[in-house]
Symmetry: C2
Subunit: 161 residues, 2 copies
């Protein structure tokens, strides 16, 4: 799973807005403040914020006292929703959704694997909200994943040459 710059920036922007929301749900945050607060190129960020507004996650206002704010409580926005809006389906095989790929012969059951992978991703991302990330307190699901012995250790793909 490759998390694109767009998703990474978009998620950080929403987390920034989530924090502001918890202090004052109606407060507007300027694009410039998000850009500087999270080190995101302003023009790129603006495009992402527009997408997030079209998807209904945030509300924007123009003018001297303008800015952005979440349209609902950060507890009610899951990371899965955000990723789907900015990057499309959580899992896809050659551009197709897992249930739509057609395999033959010895590969017949490969489809089950991709469907399982998607479910695994959902189990994590649908159950983590913006508020969870801001607070750093996650449910048992993610907490257990993080407590696995080498969760933080990378696995090299050792090429033989």
């Amino acid at each position: 799973m490759q998390v694109s710059a767009k998703v990474d920036y978009g998620m950080r922007a929403l987390l920034f807005l989530a924090q502001s929301y918890q202090e004052d749900p109606s407060a507007l945050v300027k694009g410039d403040a998000i850009s500087k607060g999270q080190t995101i190129p302003i023009k790129f960020l603006e495009g992402i914020l527009t997408e997030l507004r079209n998807a209904g996650f945030i509300i924007s206002q123009r003018g001297a006292v303008g800015g952005y704010r979440l349209s609902r409580a950060p507890q009610k926005i899951s990371l899965a929703e955000v990723i789907r809006v900015l990057d499309g389906p959580l899992a896809a095989v050659r551009g197709l959704r897992p249930e739509n790929v057609n395999y033959e012969g010895s590969a017949a059951h490969l489809q089950d694997v991709w469907v399982g992978v998607r479910t695994a991703l959902r189990d994590v991302l649908e159950n983590v909200s913006l508020a969870d990330v801001v607070s750093g307190e996650f449910g048992t699901q993610l907490t257990e994943l993080l407590s696995q012995p080498d969760a933080w250790v990378s696995r090299p793909a050792y090429e033989s040459n």
Copy 2:
């Protein structure tokens, strides 16, 4: 997680070889047979097979009775290994491994999420072998994921416009 054509083709090629291996571990399968058996463009496939050989998964032989075969039992090759060789790390954020990204302020704990996602992917893909896919009989991990109510149902990212 986007499964690329390369990974999809490579996996299917290996599954084809895995089936042959189970009938006769030393039998050589021609590239042409894999290409036709799994409907993969021959020249594209050849490049993928070369990578798989470099990574040690398969052995090749040239000449009139040439072909390809697995270098070890299909029970000993996990899907995670194959993906890492053909496509790189299971999870990455803007090209970086999850443990190497640096977040600030309200996004600080976002790193935990990506590490958790990687672990979730590992839990599935490291525990499924080529032999498992050929037989269609998976361990409890994947079996449970597939038995979830709407594992096969897609979740639309409903855009408000």
